[in-house]
Each structure stands twice: as C-alpha cells, then as structure tokens.
C-alpha cells in the first residue's frame, strides 16, 4: 500500500470518528448553529435598520458566515485539546498511522458541520429578507469557499490548541483572535465608515477578503478579485501553520 493511500485511509477513519460525534450528540450541532442564528437575528433587527435599512440581511449573512467559520476553528481546537487531555491522542501516536490524520480528521469533520450551519443560516435568512441573488451554483461555490477558508483558518487555532492544551484556556485564547478579526472587517458594517488607519488594516486582512468573496458569490456578483486575494492568504496561512501545528503535535 502506498504511503499516500494509507494516509488517506487514516484521514478517512479519523473523519468518520469525528462526524460520529455530531451524529451521536445532536446538541453539539445545535450549539454550533445557535450562536450564528442568534447573531443573525440580533444584528439584523437591532442594528440592521440603522446600518442598511431593509436590505441588511443581504449584507449580513455572508459576513456572519465568515465569522461562524472563525468560531468553528475554535471548536476544532478545543476538540483537539480535549482529545489530548483524555489520552486518546497518546493512543493514536503509538499507532503506525499518518501523523497529521488525527488533526485533519477533526478539521474535515468540522468543515462538514460548517457546511450544514451555512445552509441553516441561508434558510433562516430567507425568512428575514435574504435571497441568493447571484444564482444557486455560484452560491454553492460561495458556501464551499467560505468553508474552505474555515478549514484553513482552523490551522491557526489548532496550533493555539496544541500549544495551550487546556480546553478552557484554548477557548479564551481563541476569542482574542476571533473577535478583532471578525469585528475589524466588513462582516457587520461597510468599511467606508471606519477611520483611515483602521481601513488600512481591514482592507488587507483575510476575513475581509473572505467576506467580500462570499458576498460576491451569494449576493452581489461584484468583487470577484477578492477570491484571488483570499486564495493567496489561504496559501500563506497553510504554509506557515500546517508545519508548525504538526511539529507541535509531535512533541506535545
């Protein structure tokens, strides 16, 4: 059996293990969707009128999808920290398997969950004035793209999780990253109203590109160039954080 083939089997088994968690513990799925739905309703009805009038849901949902992916990365990281604490990672490490497979399995399973959460957000969005104005196929591409971004971003959180180890500390540490990145972006409000120094950051950070790209594919059909900018960011993040995470995994 080639190394590639056996690595794929390991990743598949690990993904199945983690998907099973969502099937056996439905509340995990509920808690993953409840926060984005709450944010969606709160922001839409509390701030929506002031920010964009009636059409805020069109603006908000692609943005919230991106934020949801960032929070999803936190859950991936907390899950890994829990696996390390329980000792099952020690067992995996003593087996003749691909080193990255326990991490990849968790990240892929969480990616599948993220797709479901995105579909739920769109469905609820339809009740409050959201529409996939750019067509269904681009919208599917948009959901897949933002899920891919979530997967890429989760490697940053994975490194944090493997370094910090304690599940609760991981949660706290990750908020310090997720909140600035998602609020200092175009998730909730247009960039134009921000001060110039902040715009310089917002215009160039990956979450903004992710939001613009998702917005383009789901709603506006404008700003496709952000897809390339996002792709470059994703390559950079993977190139830095995958090797670091695997190194940290091996030694912890």
């Amino acid at each position: 059996m080639s190394q590639m083939h056996s690595a794929l089997i390991d990743i598949w088994i690990m993904t199945k293990r983690n998907v099973l968690r969502y099937r056996r513990i439905p509340t995990l799925m509920v808690f993953s969707s409840i926060q984005p739905i709450m944010f969606l309703l709160l922001f839409n009805f509390v701030f929506g009128g002031a920010i964009a009038g009636d059409s805020y849901a069109l603006f908000l949902i692609p943005g919230l999808m991106a934020q949801t992916m960032l929070f999803g990365g936190t859950q991936t990281s907390v899950g890994l920290a829990e696996d390390m604490k329980s000792g099952i990672i020690d067992r995996f490490k003593s087996l003749p398997i691909n080193n990255a497979s326990p991490i990849l399995g968790r990240a892929i399973a969480d990616g599948i969950r993220n797709i479901f959460v995105a579909i739920i957000m769109v469905s609820i969005g339809y009740l409050i004035g959201f529409e996939l104005l750019n067509g269904v196929l681009p919208a599917i591409a948009g959901v897949l793209l933002i899920t891919l971004f979530g997967f890429v971003f989760s490697w940053i959180m994975i490194l944090v999780g493997l370094a910090v180890k304690d599940p609760e500390s991981v949660n706290t540490a990750s908020f310090l990253l997720v909140f600035p990145l998602s609020f200092a972006s175009n998730v909730f409000v247009p960039i134009a109203s921000m001060p110039g120094w902040l715009q310089a950051f917002v215009n160039n950070q990956p979450v903004t590109h992710a939001v613009t790209a998702t917005r383009a594919l789901l709603v506006t059909g404008e700003g496709y160039d952000s897809i390339w900018k996002l792709a470059i960011w994703m390559v950079i993040i993977l190139a830095i954080f995958v090797p670091l995470s695997i190194r940290q995994y091996k030694k912890s």
Partner: protein, 326 residues
C-alpha cells in the same frame, strides 16, 4: 526469526530527558527479555510515564539509545509502532463510540483488512467479557470496563510488546485481580509486557523482573526475590496503640537493635532491621516493657518489597493517587 528471537525485546541505554530544569529521566538503562513481564516500579513523578512515552515513540529522548523489538525507536519510530501496543491509566478510548467501534477503529488504523478486524474484535470482546456491553457507548461503562476495553484495543494489532502504564491505578481490588489475570494470560500467549506501577504487590505478583526508579534514576533491579534478599536481614514490625507511644518507642528500638528504625506514615507502626533474628525481637520487647510501653502487635518477618523500597529511597511507594502527565 530465530536470530531475532535472541535479541532483547527492549534495550534502552542511558536514556535522558529534560523538561526545562527537571531531569525527568537522568540516564536510565533497562533491558527486557522476550516473553517476560518487566515491572517498572516507582513513586509518583519518578519518571515511569516519561520512560514509557519514550519507548512507545510518543516522545524523543534527549540522548541515549533505544531499541524496541530489534529496531531503533529513535530513527525508525514508524516501524516500532507496528509491533507495540499501549494501554494506560487514562483508559484512552473514545467516549462517544461503542466498545466494538473503539476496537474496530484501532484495528482499521493498523490497516488490517476489515474481515480480520471484525474477527479479532469479537475475540477480544469475548475474552474481556465485554460482548454484552459491546454496542453501548463507552461513556456508560464502569471504570473497570473502560480499562478492559483500553487493554483490548491495544491488542487488536497483535503486538509483540505491550506497554501498560499503571494498568490498575484507581481500580477496586476485585477489578484489579481480574486485570492481573488478563495480563498473565496475555503473557502466557507470548506477549512481552512492560508495566509500570506504584504498587509493590503488583510488581511482586506479576513481574518476572523489576526495576526500581526514583527521580529519573534507576535505583536497583532484579527479580522480586533478589530485591528482597538485598535487604537480607529480617524485619521487626512493632505496632503501638498510639502515636505518642510510637515516638517514645523509637529511641528504645534503635538502642536495642543498633539499627535506625522507620516510622510508617500512619505514625503507629515501626519497622526496623534485625541482624540477630528472634534474639533481637526479644531484646526489643524486653526494653519496651522496661520503659512501660505496651505494643499492640509485634512481629518478625522476611523483608517485603515495601521494605526494599523504603530502604533504598527513604520513602514509601504510594503517596496519593495517579501520576501527573509527565
């Protein structure tokens, strides 16, 4: 194969591992013969878990050489992983999965074909008396069942060498005996076993050969009998009715035996070497009687591993439960 069988199952030499300024392992060497049960005995934080982690390729030692099953564990960890099994005090199984799913998952991760995995899983479930609970999620299992499942899952790859890190820590006495029986059966089947324990009776009961480690160093090694005979002399054990009497008795015991007595942690029991056999015993009783101290029990016995441990490390073996993850 025949050439391989003459090699030791484990040959660890001068293993060192430092965490910041702590010498977790300070040059430990052990050799484990094929087909034997090797007991690694030591108190909490002695370095037992660190040594097991090094031998199971979970961590790289800072220096030393490590040969597992004839293969270099430091340069070829992947090869070593194919022939070892690991089970431990943490019972590292997935809580959400059923018992059967847990064993099957580990089997599949060894890339054994599905049919063989199924067959082996059934055999293991039966052997470990988990067939009835096989399709229940592990979170409904008792502590003993988890430990059995953990042990079972480490066998599905049919390892040549099995590492058991404190396999009975925290278990009730009956479950402990059950596990001992299973460990002995595995060894009868030809599996080489290295187990760590902080219980002397466990090492005495199971291990063909025992190494005592403390503070990252090997203190002594040998069979249980060899270790006991290292102490050589008989031991007098005196139990007093209260701690005050015990304190008063200490200098008297020392004077009458010419050996330094040890006060056990309960504060009421004194042990001391006796070079003169029963004569020493009668001296002690007479002198205590002269001082008006009435012991509730006095005995003379051959040294136990406990005595060996106290003699060599100056402290009793089990202080508190469980070893921290170090």
């Amino acid at each position: 194969m025949s050439q391989k069988s003459t090699k030791p199952a484990i040959d660890a030499r001068n293993i060192k591992k430092y965490y910041k300024n702590v010498h977790a392992l300070d040059g430990v060497s052990i050799m484990v013969k094929k087909g034997k049960i090797f007991g690694l005995l030591g108190p909490n934080g002695a370095g037992k878990t660190t040594l097991v982690k090094a031998m199971t390729t979970l961590l790289k030692p800072d220096s030393g050489s490590l040969n597992i099953g004839g293969m270099d564990a430091i340069s070829h960890p992947g090869d070593v992983r194919k022939i070892i099994g690991l089970a431990g005090q943490y019972a590292s199984v997935d809580e959400v999965m059923t018992g059967r799913e847990n064993i099957e998952m580990v089997g599949r991760l060894y890339h054994i074909n599905a049919e063989t995995v199924k067959k082996r899983t059934e055999d293991i479930l039966k052997r470990f008396e988990l067939t009835e609970a096989a399709d229940r999620p592990v979170k409904t299992y008792s502590g003993g069942m988890r430990r059995r499942l953990d042990l079972g899952a480490s066998l599905v790859g049919e390892p040549e060498i099995l590492f058991l890190d404190e396999p009975t820590t925290g278990l009730d006495p009956r479950t402990r005996l059950e596990l001992w029986k299973l460990i002995r059966q595995l060894n009868d089947d030809g599996v080489t076993i290295l187990l760590t324990t902080q219980y002397l009776d466990e090492a005495d009961e199971l291990a063909d050969y025992i190494a005592l480690i403390d503070q990252g160093k090997l203190i002594t090694e040998g069979t249980a009998d060899e270790l006991k005979s290292k102490l050589g002399d008989d031991v007098i054990e005196i139990t007093l009715t209260n701690a005050k009497d015990a304190k008063a008795a200490l200098p008297i015991v020392e004077k009458s035996t010419h050996h330094e007595p040890l006060l056990k942690p309960n504060g009421k029991k004194i042990t001391v070497k006796s070079t003169e056999g029963t004569k020493g015993l009668s001296h002690v009783i007479k002198h205590l009687d002269d001082a008006g101290i009435k012991p509730s029990e006095v005995s003379l016995h051959r040294p136990t591993l406990d005595d060996v441990f106290l003699e060599l490390t100056g402290k009793p073996t089990s202080e508190g439960e469980g070893e921290p993850n170090a």
